[in-house]
């Protein structure tokens, strides 16, 4: 029997914005994969993304049903399970382009690291909401959360998958920021790490390692790799002008000039075909989603719920900020996809679950169980 208040408190606006972003994403992806779709109408990445989306919607509904409070009981176990999967990746993982990130289960490849994004939020939210921990915790109370974060981040870095490792780290940092970190801890951290940069840079790093970091910071140094992506991306975006070239009319992205156009650089496909207005629309939709999600977090009546929503929102928000910043040539090129838009099954599934959990907290904000 579904409680009437559950329906009442369901945030229809979030669902609407979520669907709108998904729709914009499918339009952009269709265009980016148009050549593939024409080559084979039944076997292409677009169809696969739609299949993942349907699975994502099932997960979305599934994660609405369970009371999020019950997730607390699973958080430690699911954390341990995903860490175990991450440990399995170097042993039995599938290697693609020199990185071992995937596990294969019944013919379906998935990245355990993607699910770590969710699990780290869930488990840290659980940890921080235990009553022993006040807001603005003491330094020693950060030891456990730092370890909980460091272990998966290191495992993912070793795959190597800088982008996902970064996202797990950022999600954890968002929660730490919200639970409250005293300015003096931040200062201590800076005082300890900043003076180390100079000796590490001058003595510990080999020239090629330095070069890699410099390329990350200024892609122009690597005209054949990242620099080429950025230049092509800028041409694609700029050539969209105000109105864009129109659906399926992009030339820059239709041709091969833009590598990774269906994954990390999908935003430039949108920008080329839908122009400044299309980009504005997508940015507004993301802003609306973040606003609505934060409203859910502020209305939630317990710390766990609030932190869960904040963490999930943070995942979407920071991926969006980093991806678009990279495509616009304002941030280092790191492999982080644009949420809901870039091609990628595990990522899409993860994000659908994230939205499901946000709605979940929203629905149960006034529901008090007497046990």
């Amino acid at each position: 029997m579904v409680d009437r208040r559950l329906i009442e408190n369901f945030d229809w606006w979030i669902l609407l914005v979520f669907f709108a972003i998904i729709l914009v994403g499918l339009v952009a992806l269709y265009s980016a994969l148009y050549q593939q779709i024409q080559a084979s109408a039944t076997n292409n990445l677009f169809i696969r993304q739609v299949a993942w989306l349907l699975m994502g919607l099932v997960c979305f509904v599934g994660f609405l049903m369970i009371d999020y409070q019950k997730l607390k009981h699973f958080s430690l176990w699911s954390y341990l399970a995903v860490v175990l999967l991450l440990l399995l990746v170097p042993v039995v993982g599938t290697e693609v382009n020199g990185a071992k990130r995937w596990l294969s289960l019944a013919g379906v490849r998935f990245q355990p690291s993607e699910f770590m994004k969710l699990i780290i939020v869930l488990h840290l939210a659980n940890y921080f909401s235990s009553h022993e921990i006040k807001t603005y915790p003491r330094l020693k109370e950060f030891v456990v959360p730092v370890l909980l974060t460091a272990i998966p981040v290191l495992l993912i870095l070793l795959e190597p998958d800088l982008g996902t490792a970064l996202m797990v780290l950022i999600a954890a940092m968002t929660l730490i920021y919200f639970i409250g970190i005293r300015l003096k801890f931040v200062l201590i951290l800076l005082i300890v790490t900043l003076p180390m940069i100079w000796p590490v840079w001058n003595y510990a790093l080999k020239p090629y390692q330095k070069e890699r970091i410099l390329i990350l910071l200024s892609p122009e140094r690597d005209p054949l790799g990242a620099g080429y992506h950025i230049r092509q991306s800028k041409i694609a975006i700029g050539s969209g002008k105000l109105w864009g070239k129109g659906f399926l009319n992009g030339t820059q992205t239709k041709l091969r000039f833009l590598p990774e156009k269906h994954t990390d650089f999908i935003f430039s496909v949108l920008a080329e075909e839908w122009g400044f207005l299309g980009c504005g629309l997508l940015l507004s939709l993301f802003a609306a989603l973040v606003y609505l999600a934060f409203r859910v977090a502020r209305r939630s009546k317990d710390r766990f719920g609030a932190l869960l929503v904040i963490g999930m929102t943070g995942l979407i928000l920071w991926q969006m900020v980093i991806n678009i910043g990279m495509v616009l040539g304002m941030m280092p090129v790191v492999g982080i996809p644009l949420p809901f838009v870039s091609y990628g099954g595990s990522s899409l599934l993860t994000l659908c679950i994230a939205i499901g959990l946000i709605e979940n907290v929203s629905m149960r904000r006034y529901v008090f169980h007497s046990r």
């Binding site: 409250g180 230049r231 700029g238 050539s239 969209g240 002008k241 609030a306 008090f368």
Partner: protein
């Protein structure tokens, strides 16, 4: 959800803002007793700061989009429609290979490839026909290349013709404006200064294969790149290869370059200086040219290989021009296996050249001493079988010196029985037999020195005592490469230092500081007393310089040579047939392999020469004269005393590159 009793209900209350009545408050407090307090008030600051940052980021992004799409939109639209930015690879020149005196053995020359970008060609068939007419090719050949590459995308340049000649290049250049989509790509290619010389040491290049691309070693390689297949080209591939660069160019609608946008220069491969002496190498090759076999010359004071020849050799230029399947089949079906480096990758029974090692083992183990005398009646009887000496009449009473000088088989049969298979194997192992020498050339054969344990494992049967008799004279299961024998004799000549042989002396990069001197590495000091080495050295000198020595005919007035002949059985000798008879009845392919391993000058050895001639018959008649010619050629090339040419060896191993 458990909530501890100590937490204060009041804290929960502060978060609520709409309490109406007292009862409402109370009931809420009771309900909240199962929940943690809300942190709404406390999170307020965090929200405000975060939302502020987000708004700032969004504004920056919108401004950036405005700048790109509105302010510069027209320029970018122009760029996207009228111009294209292309990525071109600049291949890295491979490292040059020099001999020890700096004479280039392998260099690079430019090769011109005719490339075609289908996307830029308005009339594909017409273009193919024109190109074919200019260069005198069959148009169908070109059409087939296009057909075969249908799956590759149309902007990827296809190589229509590789390494075209100058005439064709000139004619093409003159018509290039009328042939849109056609361009010439320049690529460095190998040029062998002495084609066929040191071919096995240098090796050859060929396109990286699909299986190789899957290996970690070739992770950085793209399909179509060249990799070294044998010799130092293979062994030092990571040093020679370099790193290709590339450039971003703006091209117009027909693919012509308009502007260079940015460029990364390739990093050339490192140059190699070999320890090979090109002059000596060619002399050694001509000395060996009438035979099938191998000659290795090395410096016993450093393990540097001065010359290494394997006959027959092969035409390296053939690989540069691109080996057709037919050529390849022809080469690999050749019964004389020209691609096989017989000095390193072919193992033969060492025959009597094994005897000095046996004798050193016997002396060190106390099985014999300088005054020992063993009798040789011409055969050794064991288990109802007669094991013959090469001299049917026998040597009579034989001491260790005479045993080597006259190469008495029966002496060593008896010594072998005293030592037993496993002690023999231990000493052979100390001299580097049965293990890879570690030279930079690959693949390398480890040879074989049997032990009783090996026999049990590999053959499933226990070691037979009679087999010990065979291995005592280097027959039976024993196998060694000409290089291994050279290294073992170098250790005898220098009094017990076993070197890791090497052909690379120096690796130099484009940066003046990027130079690595590769010294010899000592594998081990052989634990045999110096006086025993002296005894064996005297006996080896006797082989050439005493009147009863088996190689007395190669004696030279100018230099004292020391060495040992060897004859390796190819066909098992029937019990009751004499060797002389057998030699007469066997065919060429069944004749024995001839060995001669030597060093000179006997007093202060500067060069070790190991000669193997396949099916050459007797070591003394076939192999020894070749060794003599090599030593004579060496003295000619190093008139001021041979040792001076070599720099002091570097004993530590940390200067060696970790090849592979």
């Amino acid at each position: 959800m458990m909530r501890s009793k100590t937490s204060q209900p009041g804290q929960a209350q502060t978060g609520r803002s709409d309490p109406d009545s007292l009862s409402d408050k109370l009931s809420r407090q009771i309900l909240l007793a199962n929940w943690e307090p809300t942190d709404e008030g406390l999170f307020q600051r965090q929200y405000l700061l975060l939302v502020g940052v987000l708004i700032l980021i969004l504004i920056i992004y919108v401004l950036r989009l405005w700048q790109l799409q509105i302010l510069n939109g027209a320029r970018y639209r122009y760029l996207s429609e009228n111009n294209r930015v292309r990525l071109e690879e600049i291949p890295a020149p491979r490292g040059i290979i020099f001999d020890r005196h700096g004479i280039p053995l392998v260099e690079n020359r430019p090769a011109y490839h005719l490339m075609l970008v289908r996307e830029d060609v308005p009339d594909l068939d017409g273009t193919l026909e024109q190109v074919a007419a200019i260069c005198g090719n069959a148009p169908d050949e070109l059409r087939k290349i296009v057909e075969d590459n249908k799956a590759t995308r149309s902007f990827v340049p296809l190589r229509l013709m590789a390494d075209i000649d100058r005439d064709c290049l000139a004619r093409l250049e003159a018509r290039r404006l009328r042939l849109p989509g056609v361009f010439i790509r320049v690529e460095p290619r190998r040029e062998y200064k002495f084609n066929g010389s040191a071919a096995h040491v240098i090796g050859y290049l060929s396109e990286v294969s699909e299986e190789e691309l899957k290996k970690d070693e070739y992770k950085q390689y793209a399909a179509g790149e060249s990799v070294g297949k044998i010799g130092v080209e293979r062994g030092l591939e990571p040093y020679l290869h370099g790193k290709s660069g590339g450039r971003q160019v703006e091209v117009d609608a027909v693919g012509r370059r308009i502007r260079l946008l940015s460029e990364t220069l390739p990093i050339p491969g490192r140059n190699l200086w070999l320890t090979i002496d090109a002059g000596l190498q060619r002399k050694v090759e001509s000395i060996l040219s009438d035979h099938i076999g191998a000659i290795v010359a090395l410096d016993p004071k450093s393990g540097s290989i001065l010359a290494m020849a394997s006959s027959p050799t092969f035409d390296q230029e053939r690989f540069v021009r691109g080996l057709k399947a037919k050529d390849w089949n022809e080469m690999s079906a050749d019964p004389s296996h020209p691609l096989l480096n017989r000095a390193v990758n072919a193992a033969y029974p060492p025959g009597s050249t094994y005897k000095p090692i046996m004798e050193l083992a016997g002396l060190q183990e106390g099985a014999i001493n300088a005054r020992s005398h063993l009798s040789c009646p011409g055969f050794f009887r064991f288990a109802d079988r007669n094991y013959r000496c090469w001299k049917e009449t026998g040597h009579g009473s034989v001491d260790p010196h005479r045993a080597i000088v006259e190469s008495c088989d029966v002496f060593f049969y008896q010594l072998g029985m005293k030592l037993g298979v496993d002690r023999i194997a231990r000493y052979a192992g100390l001299f580097g037999l049965g293990e890879k020498s570690g030279v930079e050339l690959r693949p390398e054969s480890p040879g074989l020195i049997p032990t009783s344990e090996w026999k049990k494992r590999a053959k499933g049967v226990a070691w037979q005592k009679g087999e010990t008799i065979s291995i005592s004279i280097g027959q039976g299961f024993d196998l060694a490469t000409p290089l291994q024998m050279a290294v073992a004799y170098a250790a005898i000549a220098n009094g017990g230092t076993l070197w890791q042989p090497h052909v690379v002396g120096r690796i130099e990069g484009s940066h003046p500081e990027d130079v690595t001197e590769v010294g010899g590495r000592v594998r081990r000091k052989i634990p045999v007393a110096p006086e025993y080495f002296k005894m064996v050295q005297a006996a080896l000198a006797g082989v050439v310089n005493e009147d009863r020595g088996t190689a007395k005919q190669i004696r030279m007035a100018s230099i004292r040579i020391a060495g040992k002949t060897g004859t390796a059985q190819v066909v098992r000798m029937p019990d009751n047939v004499s060797r002389k008879l057998l030699a007469r009845i066997t065919k060429d392919q069944e004749r024995d392999h001839a060995w001669f391993v030597s060093y000179a000058p006997a007093e202060d050895p500067a060069i070790v020469v190991s000669v193997l001639v396949e099916h050459g018959g007797h070591g003394s008649s076939t192999a020894a004269p070749l060794a003599r010619q090599v030593i004579a050629a060496y003295i000619e090339s190093e008139p001021n005393g041979p040792a001076q040419a070599e720099a002091a060896p570097v004993p530590a191993s940390n200067h060696r590159p970790s090849s592979g």
